[in-house]
Amino acid sequence: MNEKHSEIQEAEILVIGGGAAGLSAAAEAASAGAGVLVLESDLHLGGQLVKQTHKFFGSKDEYAGTRGFLIAGKLLEELSAYPDKVKTMTNTAAMGYYKNDGVVTAMRGEEEYFKLKPKRIVMATGAQERLIAFPNNDLPGVYGAGAVQTLMNVYGVSPGDRVLMVGAGNIGLIVSYQLIQAGVSVVGILEAMPNIGGYWVHAAKIRRLGVPILLRHTIRAALGSETVQGALVESLATGERFQLDCDIICMAVGLTPTAEMLWQAGCAMKYIPELCGHVPVRNKRQRTTHEDFWIAGDAAGIEEASAAMIEGRVAGLDAAASLGYSVDENRFDVFAERLNSLRRGDTAAKIRSGLEKVVAA
C-alpha cells in the first residue's frame, strides 16, 4: 500500500461532545496538564445547557440555583484558564472510530474531513430524543420537546400557537412552562403513567396556570392533512377517545444515550432500561472496557446535568492520570461523594439500580 492520505492529527485527549459532561472533562484533564481537543457538532459549545433558562437543582458544587445557560458560561470561563492546553472545534462531528489503528474521523461543517489519532477519548456525546410511533407522526408540527426548546430558547422562534405536550417528566413540564412564558398556549400534557414523572415544583407551576395534566392518557394519532390540526387522545383507564385541538404535538417521552463510536470500538455494551438504552460497561472512574475510552454524561445513561458534570470531571481526570500526569487522588473521592449525594433518595433509585448493572467494581 503506497496510498497517501491527508495527515493524521494527534491529540492527547480527545473529548467528543462540548456539553456539560465534555466541558467538565476538558477542564479537569487540562488542570492536570493534559492537552485536550474538544469536538462539538453544534455551532456553539455548551450542549443542552445553552437552552436551559431555568434554575438548576442538585448541589452547590454543580451550580444549583444557577440558570443552565449561565452554567455553560462558567464552564467555558474555567476552560479559558488553560489556553495552551485546550483546543475546541465547533461545527465538527466525530464520524467514526477505526479500532485497527485507533483513528477517529471527523467532519467540520460539510466541507472539511480529517483524521485524528488521540491517545485517549472521552465520549460525552449526550442523548437523542426518543420517538414513539403513532399514525401521522410525520406531519409537520410533530416535534421532540428538546427541539422545541432549541427553537424557542436558542433561536427565538415560536413553534406554533397551541401545543399538546406528550410526557409529564421534567422535560415535558419545563418545556411546557417555557412555552407559556413565551406566549404559546399549552392545551394539555398527556402522561401514560398514573403519576407525574417530573418534580412537583415544576408540575405545580403548570397546574397553577390552568394547564391540565392528563394521567393515564396517551396519544393515538396526530390529525390533519398538511400539518397538525389536532390529536386523537385515549384514556388508558377507560379506553375513551377524544380529540384535542392543537397545531403542535410535542414529544417528551424520554431520551436515549448516544455513543455510536463505542460500538465501533468494541466496548462491552448492555441494554439497561433504567439508564434508558444501551450503555457501556465502565469502572468507577468512567473507563469503558476499551482502555482508551471513557464515558460521561447522558451518553453513559440518562440522568441530569449535575451528574453529567461530575462524571465528566472523573473521566477527564482519570484519562489524564492514565497518560502519566500526576493528579490529586483525593479528587476522585470528592467527586464520588458528590455523585453519591446527588444519587441519594427515592427519585434516584432507578439510576442506582441501573448503575449497579454496568459499573464494575
Binding site: E3, E110, Y113, F114, P135, N137, S225, T256, Y271
Partner: protein, 113 residues
C-alpha cells in the same frame, strides 16, 4: 375540532386505527411504514440488521437514530423476546452522512488503480 381530517378517517368521523397504524411511518429517512416492517418481522426477518437489509431502515441521513428503538420494540412485541436481548444491529462509520467527494479529497496521491 370538526375540521381535523386525515386520509384514514371513516366518513362518520371515527378512526380506523389499525389501518392508520400500519401506515405509520417507522423510518422517516427511508419512508418505511410500521405495517411493512411488521410483515417482514412476522416472516422471520426478526433482527434489526435483517430488516435493515430488506427495507433500508437505519440507512438514511439519521443512521437509525430515529427508528432503531421503535423497530426493536416492534421486534420484541412480535417475537416475545425482551429488547435487552435484541441486537441493535451493526453500527459502522460514518455515523452521519458525508459527501463522497470529501472522502475522495482526503486521498492525496499515490498509485491509483
Amino acid at each position: 375540532m370538526s375540521e381535523a381530517k386525515c386520509c384514514c378517517c371513516e366518513s362518520d368521523g371515527s378512526f380506523n386505527l389499525a389501518e392508520m397504524e400500519n401506515d405509520t411511518v417507522l423510518c422517516r429517512c427511508e419512508e418505511v411504514t410500521l405495517g411493512t416492517a411488521r410483515k417482514w418481522i412476522a416472516e422471520g426477518y426478526d433482527t434489526f440488521d435483517e430488516i435493515k437489509r430488506m427495507l433500508r431502515v437505519g440507512m438514511g441521513p439519521c443512521q437509525g437514530r430515529g427508528c432503531r428503538d421503535i423497530l426493536l420494540r416492534e421486534i420484541s412485541q412480535i417475537t416475545g423476546r425482551p429488547v435487552s436481548e435484541l441486537s441493535p444491529g451493526t453500527i459502522r462509520p460514518p455515523v452521519k452522512p458525508i459527501k463522497v467527494s470529501l472522502v475522495a479529497r482526503d486521498y492525496t496521491g499515490g498509485d491509483k488503480k
